[in-house]
Every structure is written in structure tokens, then in C-alpha cells.
């Protein structure tokens, strides 16, 4: 029983990290029809800069940890906004080129991180409490898992509130559904494009700092490795659906955890099977709009 609880709670924790990457991917695809293959590097930059800042402020202090989350969010947001303005927006409506440029940026940024931080992983330290465990139903759960879950839930709530209650949020929701009609009402959707990249980059940056503590390391490849699962999550949840991304993140991570433990390490395989099943039975994803 304690085994199941451990797997379930850590699964939700992993799902929280997936969600922080997938939320931005899903919003960006929904509004702009761009598959952003550079999204993982926003996460990696957030993780590295978060780690650098935490070390300078005192890695084991809560202030250091909190500031590293903030810096991770800002770094991811700034990198993403710049990417959108400088690269993606110049290729407005040329989707193939937009995708290619994000692939290129992903490769170039990883090489850049290699150059700055080296190819060997770095090991972040955080407040001691983070690496201790809390016992629930006999299962000893690392505290970082709770922090990841709460952070992802807070990001989800903040983005939902933003989408529901601000004019830009309304424009993004309308644009996901029918971008042409939004422009025909006199709205320059390009500002909304930059905004979804910025929000997605911030979430990924937070995800980077949390992932580095969750997995215990940062490497230049960290983000792009997580990106693969985030893409799967985004497709299963339904491209463009934030809630779909949240549900699918948890679903995928739980499946992965349980299959790894009970089915001889076949977690990744099980996820691909789930992806295939969803694509065959519900091509637009669990919560995607009908094509």
C-alpha cells in the first residue's frame, strides 16, 4: 500500500513538472499553430540561472530557493519573448519555417549551454527540508514533490484566472478558436503571440528550477529531454487545451511511474502506447476541439 501511495504521489509530482512545460506548448500551438521545439531550452536556461543565483544567495536558504524560482521564471519568460519577437514572428503564418527555426534554436541553445556550463551535470542544493521526506500512509515522500505539485497548481490557477478575467486572456481564448476572426475585429494578435510565449516561457523556467531539485541535477539536455514527454502530454490532452494538458500530464506521469515499477521498467513504452490509443480513438486529444 505504501508503495502505491509513493508511486502515486511522486507520479503527480512528475506530472506537475510535465505540466509546467506542456502548458506553454499547448497554448502556443493552440493560438499560433507552432510546435515550439525550443520550449525545452527555456526550461534549461531557467534551471541554470536559478542554480547560479541560488548559489550566490546561499543555496540552502529559503530566500535562495525562492529567488531561484523567480529568476527561473524571468529567464524563461525573457528568452521565450525574445524568441517569439526575433525569430517566430518574422515568419508569421509560415508554419514550416517557424517550426524549423525553433528546432534550430533548440540545438543552438543546447550547444551554448554546453559552452557556458559544460556538458557534465550540475547538482543544485536547496533548503535541507526539500530533500527530507514526509510520511503519508507509510510512504516516505520527498518534500520537493509537494513543492512541485503546489507550484504547478498555482501556475495553473494563475493562468486560468488570467485567461478568464483579462482582456488579453479573452483575446487568447478567442484566438485559439478562430484567429482570423480576432484580427477581423481590429485586434493585432501578434501581441497575444508574444504574450503566450512569455507566459509559457515563465512556466517552463519555474519547471526548470523545480525539475533540477526533483531529479537532482541540471544538464544542458534536461529541458529537451522533458520536452519529448511534454509534447506527448500536449497531444494527449488536446492541443490548445490548458486543462487537457493538466489532466494528461498527471495521467502520463502516473502511467509512467506505475509501468516502470510494476511492468519491468516499461514506463516510456506504456506512454507511447497510450499516445497511440488516444490518437486512434480521439485524434483531437482528450479535451481538444474537434478538427
Amino acid at each position: 500500500m505504501s508503495e502505491v501511495i509513493l508511486l502515486a504521489v511522486t507520479g503527480v509530482g512528475l506530472g506537475a513538472i510535465y505540466f509546467l512545460v506542456a502548458s506553454g506548448l499547448s497554448l502556443i500551438y493552440g493560438l499560433m499553430h507552432v510546435l515550439n521545439f525550443a520550449h525545452g531550452v527555456f526550461l534549461t536556461l531557467g534551471a541554470f540561472l536559478g542554480l547560479e543565483v541560488a548559489q550566490r544567495l546561499g543555496a540552502s536558504t529559503w530566500t535562495g530557493f525562492a529567488v531561484s524560482l523567480l529568476v527561473g521564471a524571468l529567464a524563461g519568460a525573457a528568452f521565450a519573448a525574445l524568441t517569439e519577437r526575433v525569430l517566430v514572428q518574422k515568419l508569421y503564418n509560415r508554419h514550416i519555417e517557424q517550426v524549423l527555426v525553433t528546432v534550430g534554436l533548440g540545438l543552438a541553445a543546447v550547444a551554448l549551454f554546453d559552452g557556458i556550463w559544460g556538458t557534465d551535470p550540475r547538482f543544485p542544493r536547496g533548503p535541507a527540508w526539500l530533500s527530507e521526506t514526509t510520511t503519508i500512509g507509510g510512504a516516505n515522500i520527498p518534500n520537493i514533490v509537494f513543492v512541485a505539485i503546489i507550484s504547478a497548481a498555482a501556475v495553473l490557477a494563475a493562468v486560468v484566472l488570467f485567461l478568464k478575467h483579462t482582456r488579453y486572456g479573452m483575446i487568447i481564448r478567442a484566438g485559439v478558436e478562430n484567429r482570423a476572426m480576432v484580427t477581423a475585429l481590429g485586434i493585432d494578435v501578434r501581441n497575444a503571440f508574444t504574450l503566450v510565449f512569455t507566459i509559457g516561457g515563465a512556466a517552463a523556467g519555474i519547471g526548470g528550477v523545480l525539475a533540477s531539485h526533483h531529479f537532482g541535477y541540471v544538464s544542458p539536455m534536461l529541458g529537451q529531454t522533458l520536452l519529448i514527454f511534454a509534447f506527448i502530454v500536449t497531444v494527449i490532452g488536446g492541443l490548445g487545451s490548458l486543462i487537457g494538458a493538466a489532466v494528461a500530464s498527471v495521467l502520463v506521469a502516473l502511467l509512467q511511474q506505475f509501468a516502470n515499477f510494476y511492468l519491468w521498467g516499461t514506463g516510456d513504452f506504456a506512454v507511447v502506447i497510450l499516445l497511440a490509443l488516444v490518437l486512434l480513438t480521439r485524434p483531437s486529444g482528450l479535451m481538444g476541439r474537434k478538427a
Binding site: 482582456r167 479573452m170 483575446i171 481564448r173 478567442a174 478558436e177 478562430n178 482570423a180 476572426m181 480576432v182 484580427t183 477581423a184 475585429l185 481590429g186 485586434i187 493585432d188 494578435v189
Partner: protein, 256 residues
């Protein structure tokens, strides 16, 4: 059916002189996915009243309107009150005061009725909520309802309301009565008549009775080309012309 009144401005064969146009299109071509869907359209939208854009299915009426909005690639000259807008992106065209009511309503189904109106509010304009709710009291009652759950007629009201909310210089209205019950066709016709008192309208409409009641001028397309310009009544009263260009015979007494 009773004969529809023929508007006084529509003297048979009258062509509106230049300077009385809010919108003027010259040599318009348009393409979708590399395919030419508008080959050569000239048209003028009169500065007052309703100009009808007519033609059989697939002749390029919708494409012409989309080209004016900049929603599809186009060449040619498009002047709005003397200003060339043919190179402008869609949002700039709209900001200059072109209201668009698309063929399939295109309300934002996940947004509420009131959000569909709020998103249409153009900054720096007065927003005519009084007019909109006076024309469509139902929209006020259903303000909080998701637009996707509305009936076709109600969605058409939302789509019209979005365009009527701002002080536009011209409205482009594409088949507003399509698929509506007769009572709603009448209602939409009345709304357009009222709108046309203050803003000129370019109207694509298959229901010729509605055209007869509303339009003073008509432009007719066949195969992506404009082939007839003139007074709406004169056109509709010419059975040979309507048979040849629209494939329907309209009696001279308005029995469309």
C-alpha cells in the same frame, strides 16, 4: 406575394457616380492556397444604403469580402473613403472602420455572449450597447451563456451585434440569413435596414426578397469576375438577366 416597394434612388440603370462611394474596389484578384478564387472584381459600395453583391454559389462573393478584409492574399486597389487599404493587414482594415459579419457567423463558441461583444469593442470608440441591446434584447438575457450553445439565429445576432457595436464606416455582411427560419430572416432584414440608415452596407444575400427590400445597388459576379453593376431593382426586374447570372427567374412584379 405582394410587390416589394422599389426604393426611389434606384432608377433603372442608374450607376452611382464616383465620390458617392465609401468603398471602391478595382481589379481585385484573390487567391487561397495558390488557387485563384477572385479573377477580376470591380465594385463600388455606395456611401449610403445597401449595395448587394450577388451571384451563384462559388462565384467568389465570400472570397471578395475576405480579400477586402485582408484575410486572404489579394492584389488590386481597394479604397476606403479614398484611402488605399489594399496593403494593410486585417486588423488595420478593421480599425479603419470596416465591420465584418462573416458567412458562417464565426462567433467565439467558448466565449460568453457578453465576451463576444466585449472582444469586439474597439478602443477609442464609443460602444453602442444601447443600440445592440435594443435590436437584440435576447443577447442581454443570455449575456452569460457560451455562444457555442446558442441557436443559429442567436449566433447570427451575436455576429451582427459585434459589427454594430462600433462606429463603422462600412459593413461587409455575408449571407446573414443563411439557414434561418423565415421569421428570423425577416428579423435580420429589419436589423440590416435599421443599420443601413447610419452605415453603408455591402450585403451578400441569396434571398432575393431580402435583397429587393434592402438594396439600392447590385454588383453581380460570375466565375470570379464582376459582370454587372447597376440598380438593384432594375436588375431584379429583368428576368433574362437574373436567369442568366443567378440561374433564377425573377418576375418584374417582385415575385422572387
Amino acid at each position: 406575394m405582394t410587390p416589394a416597394p422599389v426604393p426611389e434612388t434606384a432608377a433603372p440603370g442608374a450607376v452611382v457616380g464616383s465620390g458617392e462611394h465609401i468603398l471602391s474596389v478595382r481589379g481585385l484578384t484573390a487567391h487561397v492556397a495558390g488557387q485563384q478564387v477572385v479573377e477580376h472584381v470591380d465594385l463600388e459600395v455606395a456611401a449610403t444604403g445597401v449595395t448587394a453583391l450577388l451571384g451563384r454559389n462559388g462565384v467568389g462573393k465570400t472570397s471578395t469580402i475576405k480579400a477586402v478584409m485582408g484575410l486572404i492574399g489579394r492584389t488590386g486597389r481597394i479604397d476606403l473613403a479614398g484611402q488605399d487599404i489594399s496593403g494593410l493587414p486585417t486588423h488595420k482594415v478593421a480599425q479603419l472602420g470596416v465591420g465584418y459579419v462573416p458567412e458562417d457567423r464565426e462567433v467565439f463558441s467558448a466565449l460568453t455572449v457578453s465576451e463576444n461583444l466585449r472582444i469586439a469593442e474597439r478602443p477609442g470608440h464609443a460602444h453602442q450597447y444601447d443600440l445592440v441591446y435594443d435590436l437584440f434584447p435576447e443577447l442581454k438575457q443570455r449575456a452569460g451563456q457560451a455562444a457555442g450553445t446558442l441557436s443559429g439565429g442567436q449566433q447570427q445576432m451575436v455576429s451582427l451585434a459585434r459589427a454594430l457595436l462600433n462606429d463603422n464606416r462600412v459593413l461587409l455582411v455575408d449571407e446573414p440569413t443563411k439557414g434561418l427560419a423565415p421569421r428570423l430572416v425577416q428579423e435580420v432584414g429589419q436589423v440590416l435596414a435599421r443599420a443601413a440608415e447610419v452605415v453603408p452596407v455591402l450585403l451578400v444575400e441569396q434571398n432575393l426578397q431580402v435583397v429587393r427590400e434592402l438594396a439600392q445597388h447590385a454588383v453581380v459576379l460570375t466565375g470570379g469576375r464582376s459582370v454587372h453593376h447597376g440598380a438593384a431593382a432594375a436588375f431584379l426586374n429583368d428576368p433574362e438577366l437574373t436567369q442568366r447570372l443567378l440561374g433564377v427567374s425573377t418576375g418584374a412584379e417582385g415575385s422572387v
